[in-house]
Amino acid sequence: MESRFSIKGRKELARPAVYVGLAVIVALLPLFFGSPYIHHMLILTFIYIIAAVSFRTIVISGQFPLAHAAFMGIGAYMAAMAAKWLGMSPWITIPLSALVTACIGMLIGYPFSRLRTLYYAMGSLFFGIGVIQIIYAGGSWTGGYSGLTGIPALLPATTSKIPYFYFFLGLALVSIIALYRIEFSRIGTNLKAIDQSHVVASSVGINEGGYRILAVGVGCFFVGLAGAGYAHYNMVLSCSSFNFMATLWLVMYVLIGGVNSFAGPIVGTIILIIVPEFFRDLKMFSPFVTAVILGIVVYLMPQGLVGLPQLIRSKLTEHRKVKKVNHAS
């Protein structure tokens, strides 16, 4: 049996040169694609990659909070309100609201961490709904039902989105590296240990309660960061971007990409945001394309999209083995 943490061939992919190369290619994309719409989609992809990877950081500790988009909303609205009503600079509100989001996450996470998976999921689901309700009830402070407008922009106004492109590319890279370090250090190992057997973990001295809260804090920090960045880019916020469906989509990005691999959320986000764009001409029918992708992965790829190379490889070796047997007999 395979460890669910190892996808074969990961050693080959681990060479840093490959990743630097990829980053360079991505950085050069605006040279080849000049349309602001494409830039916008890529910026959104970067933002959601941060959100998805940070969600997975929480998931590896065995907790499955169904409220991650709500925390993105907390980050977004905190930054927007601080900038709009208190006049703070976006360069301050972004990291500050990330911190606030992390604190709120840890405060909520503390009582929730005692619940079992199913009830934890339901409870966090309602917390997420509650956050949206509070935003609705916020009247003119939060923009209520009609949304918050007039949020100060992060960068000086230009018609081009390219400066934002590079800002969010940078933010995404920094976040990915930061979260990568968590996962592949003793911290990440401890989180995975707690997930596999919290009884054994605590018997070797791992403070399971503390680590669980740490995971939530880190996850909420980065998703709050992504939300705050989004607020100062979009300059307009609407509650419905952070509701339960939004959380479910974030969850899908991670699960479809592959929940047991660090690259999973990244792959999942890219595929689920970019691929439907090719089918935009189908207009109303385009969600069906997404549904088909989702269905294929759910039924055929237990390890998610990142498991595809391994899946193909094992099918090929199976095929070769069958051929050998047929030849032998």
Binding site: I182, T189, A193, Q196, V200, V204
Partner: protein
Amino acid sequence: MLLEINGLTKYFGGLAAVRDFDMHLDDGELLGLIGPNGAGKTTIFNLITSIYKPTKGKIIFDGNDITSKKPHEIARLGIGRTFQLNPLFSDFTVLQNVSTSFHLHPKSSLPDIYFNTAKYRRNEAYILEQSQEILKMVGLDKVENELAKNLPHGYQKMLGIARALAVKPRLLILDEPIAGMNPSEIDFTLDAIKKMQQQKITILLVEHNMKILDLCERVVVIDFGQKIAEGLPKDVRENKEVIRAYFGGERVT
């Protein structure tokens, strides 16, 4: 006295699993806790390591009252244990199981870990070396890269013991360490336990097997959550109460 248990009582609903249980353990002793199935042995272990909270009573370890401490704090104070059903980190390798268990000694702080400081790297190298030594001592060094869930049962139990040793315990609690093992694995485990004794680790174990009990310096017998006998193994074996508990009446010779 290393471990002192006074008046330990645990009720589950209306049922007393453990009642007014007293026991003490001296430094370096090897003590066996025996009793029929359901007598409360594992419950007592779970109370010592704080997986359950006692209804009444006190547990004092090395002068510290550990009755209300959390499980990881108890590990920090120097108690390591194995579990009857032997949960492991099943998706980790054998080596990873042990190296993860070196969480406490040496302890790297969170900043050290995160920023990959020289201290952290030194600690990790030391941990790797120590893990491999422990694996060699329990005979699992050949399979260090196997996944824990793929190991045969006896190996898994050895891994449980290896993991408990990584805590550098002063007191090691073993819950049925040789249950389900074949004879050669049993001999191996007995050797390992003797080696641990030589290293001055105090051991408290639960077992049904007489071979292990003969290793023990002292035996405590419980039934229905209460102590019914205590003493040298050979004395306990002849005790009428003990015989009644196991066989329900006078032994027919």
